[in-house]
């Protein structure tokens, strides 16, 4: 599956804003909503991507080139793991866990939004190296 790279970038900007609001307000529901967005993103049906297609892309015109959607979808999965950890932190009132996990997801989203750098993707090989048993 192919994806417009500008859509990935646009989604990262919204994600950055939402996660920043989670930190500022301490609102766990907002983090839950972002977690749902991450889950839909893994499935290749990101609501932010939909907003991009409906509202932004018609104003920008067609993309110069498309990208493989596997890396950004994997990164949404990494975001989902952090969001779940943050939600556990909020639910169990472990404030440190809630803040650190949300901050980690925010860092990844910000790097993608500001620099087009996919932190989740970069983590992939390092994680794979730590799992020798899974060698194919």
């Amino acid at each position: 599956m192919q994806v417009d790279p500008r859509s990935t970038r646009f989604s990262a900007v919204i994600t950055t804003v939402v996660l920043a609001l989670v930190l500022l307000t301490g609102n766990a529901w907002l983090l839950l909503a972002q977690g749902v967005v991450f889950a839909l993103g893994v499935a290749g049906a990101s609501p932010y991507g939909l907003i991009f297609r409906r509202l932004v892309r018609p104003r920008l015109g067609p993309p110069a080139e498309l990208e493989d959607s596997t890396p950004p979808r994997f990164a949404q999965g990494v975001g989902l793991v952090f969001a779940l950890a943050g939600l556990i932190g909020f639910a169990a009132q472990i404030t440190v866990l809630a803040l650190v996990a949300t901050a980690a997801a925010l860092l990844a989203a910000f790097l993608n939004a500001a620099f087009g750098f996919c932190l989740g993707c970069e983590m992939y090989l390092i994680i794979r190296r730590l799992m020798p048993a899974a060698t194919r």
Partner: protein, 147 residues
């Protein structure tokens, strides 16, 4: 300290860390670096592909790698342009032995081998075309008896 205040501090710290990481990656990512001369030699059997007559560009990639495609484009273009140079792409996941041996932490990582398979240069991140060509100049200039 109030919750909002803590949140604000964490937010600022995270964005500052992101700026530092992002700017560092942008500046250093893809830089073609010299490698210690005692680095071991790669044989064609290790790669599962023939070495180039003059030099070989070994690219480590994964499926979850955004800049790998652009890197592939640069390296195949360069290897098509410079005679005796081969571009070999390796799926990092299926060759974790090589990943560990060459301490590959990121994809793409590019190793520049001379005609004997000695690693002379490496780059992690997407290398610039001009840097690859310059590194090839060095790799190809290594004489067979220079060891």
């Amino acid at each position: 300290m109030s919750q909002a205040m803590t949140g604000l501090l964490v937010l600022c710290a995270t964005l500052a860390a992101g700026l530092i990481v992002g700017l560092t990656m942008r500046r250093r990512g893809g830089a073609v670096r010299a490698v210690r001369s005692d680095m071991d030699v790669v044989a064609a059997g290790d790669l599962g592909a023939e070495l180039g007559e003059r030099a070989t560009l070994v690219q480590f990639s994964t499926a979850f790698c955004q800049p790998c495609r652009a890197t592939r484009r640069v390296l195949s273009e360069v290897s098509g342009m410079v005679p005796g140079v081969r571009h070999v792409e390796i799926d990092a996941e299926s060759r974790l032995d090589l990943v560990r041996r060459f301490d590959v932490m990121r994809t793409p990582t590019v190793l520049v081998l001379d005609h004997q398979g000695r690693v002379v240069k490496r780059a992690s991140g997407q290398p610039r075309r001009a840097d690859v060509i310059a590194a090839l100049g060095l790799a190809a200039s290594q004489e067979p008896d220079a060891t």
